[in-house]
């Protein structure tokens, strides 16, 4: 090794002597990828806007438009501003874990960066897990921000008995939409298509799932259709855990089962269809 080096030998090796593929080395590589991916995300103003600022903006707009209205929820009525908090949390989780994931993964793949990384010893599992951690953590962060705004501005506090359910919903939702984001990204063949395709999936599902329009104001058949897709189960679970009229733990196993099934489907598609090489050209 040193015979090949013209100057002094290489500096401190970031990689330990652990053989490739062994758990400590893989964990270190995942952390390594996560650190640099996070740095890229923080410096990307477009990602920051769509994942962190837009959901807060939506909450502020909906809450001020329907300032004095209230809406029927299971067990009673809720101020409309408070009603929108769990819905916008669902939207924010989807924006961070799903929409931003798709746009980022397609951009990285189509720019040849994955192809470039393929020529290195970096395993696919480190690439995917590092990226998924970014999606999940940004989703958790924006969910926390909206919860704090809901509490500080609209006086909505989370009942203690449903707080664990809320935390579970948020974490499960982030993981499920990460898997789905990776899965959908494998079908998109160009950077230009990723934003429109993402919007075409997220916006209609958000409208029929009670995120922008309260579920009680939607026709039953529409709600029944939306219950099959993953957005409605997440929104409904979050509302149940956030709603002060909810009795019991706020856990809806049926919703969580549908959500989990979607996550498993996404994971299977994502791992089977993951490609290092650009899909265009």
């Amino acid at each position: 090794m040193t015979a090949l080096s013209p100057a002094s030998p290489a500096g401190p090796a970031p990689a330990g002597p652990a053989p490739a593929g062994s758990p400590p080395r893989l964990a270190r590589l995942i952390l390594h990828e996560f650190r640099y991916d996070l740095r890229c995300f923080r410096r990307n103003t477009q990602s920051m806007f769509f994942t962190l600022i837009l959901p807060v903006l939506f909450l502020a707009i909906f809450a001020s438009v329907f300032r004095n209205a209230d809406v029927a929820v299971p067990g009673g009525r809720l101020g409309e501003a408070v009603y929108y908090v769990p819905g916008i949390i669902a939207y924010a989780i989807i924006a961070a874990a799903f929409s931003n994931m798709i746009v980022t993964v397609v951009r990285i793949r189509e720019s040849g960066t994955y192809k470039r990384q393929r020529a290195t010893p970096l395993p696919a599992s480190a690439v995917i897990t590092g990226r998924a951690l970014i999606g999940a953590l940004t989703a958790l962060a924006i969910a926390a921000v909206i919860l704090i705004i809901g509490w500080a501005v609209y006086g909505a506090s989370i009942p203690g008995r449903t707080a664990p359910a809320l935390a579970l919903d948020i974490i499960l939702g982030a993981l499920v939409f990460c898997c789905l984001g990776f899965a959908v990204a494998t079908f998109i063949t160009s950077v230009d298509a990723s934003q429109p395709v993402t919007l075409a999936i997220v916006l209609p599902l958000s409208f029929i799932s009670g995120i922008f329009i309260p579920a009680g104001e939607l026709p039953n058949w529409l709600i029944n259709i939306s219950a099959i897709f993953p957005v409605r189960p997440l929104a409904a679970s979050l509302l149940a855990a956030y709603n002060p009229h909810t009795t019991g733990s706020g856990l809806n196993w049926g919703n969580l089962a549908v959500l989990t099934a979607w996550g498993i489907l996404g994971l299977i598609i994502a791992t089977r269809r993951f490609r290092w090489l650009p899909r265009s050209g």
């Binding site: 500096g11 090796a13 593929g21 390594h32 290195t120």
Partner: protein
């Protein structure tokens, strides 16, 4: 990139002088790349139709061919990106189709098209890749090697095309590979950036790396390569050193000069007129596989007539001409 033209020139001449004569001779040692009967078809269309290749340690091997000849397909099979449909391939003793991370740690790849993470700095980008390898080179040294040490804090999206290519080279070298693949490393470069990149590549040879280079520029192959192989329509049509490729060393030279005033072509010595290929515009052109006797006859004739031939030229066939003949590309 940062150096002046003068500096680049002096570094290049130094590299030239240091170029080992051994590279021009017979290669020795176990081959780093050994390809036997490689075939690749895409849906019935044969892109590579059974090729053999050998690349030896410390060599700069240039792989030339027109677009669509099977060049990129072959390189991507060697790099482990694609699975072949037939033949045997060994790169560093391993079949790339089934190679793992340990093998990838020993190769470096510079792709034709690749964009670095736009929001990372040059230093961060290289440090990120350093983390993938068991025994990486030092980041500052590698940046210095490619001439990017002046701007380590520059965001990658602000890099020029030439700087990005240098970053690509740095990323390929950071793992301290034994074998480096360079796929059209200077396409789209201005002459100064091209020269500077050649300098970097020549520097890799001095580090003892084996280099597999593809290019469209004959002067690039001529300048850098120890050996050249030409692929056309999925087959190797010629292989040799830059001087011997396609029988270049045996091919005819072109001798040309302007006929002195009032001297018709018929007055030239018989040995010259016998080889005359044209003189319509008052400029005589002679083709000669053995130019020296003709030049002797021409000199004696001119001396006897007391005329001069001030624009006398002897031109060897260029590598480009040989290449175009081999690949059958229209001029």
């Amino acid at each position: 990139m940062t150096g002046t033209a003068e500096l680049v020139d002096s570094r290049l001449s130094g590299v030239r002088a240091a170029r080992s004569p051994a590279g021009q001779g017979r290669p020795s040692g176990e081959p780093v790349i050994r390809v036997r009967g490689l075939q690749m078809s895409y849906g019935g269309v044969q892109a590579v139709a059974g090729i053999d290749l050998e690349v030896y340690p410390g060599e700069v091997f240039a792989f030339l061919g027109p677009n669509g000849a099977g060049k990129t397909t072959t390189v991507e099979i060697l790099e482990g990106y694609r699975r072949r449909t037939g033949g045997d391939v060994r790169v560093l003793g391993v079949d790339p189709a089934g190679a793992g991370g340990d093998w990838r740690a020993r190769i470096g790849v510079v792709l034709q098209e690749s964009a670095p993470e736009a929001e990372l700095t040059v230093h961060e980008c290289v440090a990120r890749y350093a983390g993938y390898y068991p025994h990486p080179r030092s980041v500052p040294e590698t940046l210095a090697l490619v001439g990017l040490d002046g701007r380590p804090g520059l965001r990658c999206r602000r890099l020029s095309g030439g700087q990005r290519r240098r970053l690509d080279v740095a990323l390929a070298l950071i793992g301290d590979p034994e074998l480096v693949f360079l796929d059209e490393p200077t396409t789209g470069f201005d002459p100064a950036a091209r020269r500077a990149t050649w300098d970097v590549i020549a520097g890799l040879r001095d580090l003892g790396k084996t280099i597999f280079l593809t290019t469209h520029y004959m002067e690039e192959a001529e300048y850098l390569a120890d050996r050249i192989a030409v692929i056309a329509a999925g087959r190797i049509v010629a292989e040799g050193t830059t001087t011997s490729l396609g029988g270049r060393d045996l091919k005819a030279s072109a001798i040309s000069f302007t006929l002195p005033d009032g001297v018709p072509a018929a007055d030239l010595p018989p040995a010259v007129t016998a080889c005359l290929t044209g003189h319509a515009d008052g400029r005589a052109r002679v083709s000669a596989t053995s130019p020296l006797p003709l030049l002797g006859a021409l000199a004696a004739w001119a001396h006897a007539r007391q005329v001069d031939l001030p624009d006398l030229q002897v031109i060897r066939p260029t590598l480009e001409e040989i290449y175009l003949q081999l690949t059958g590309e229209p001029r």
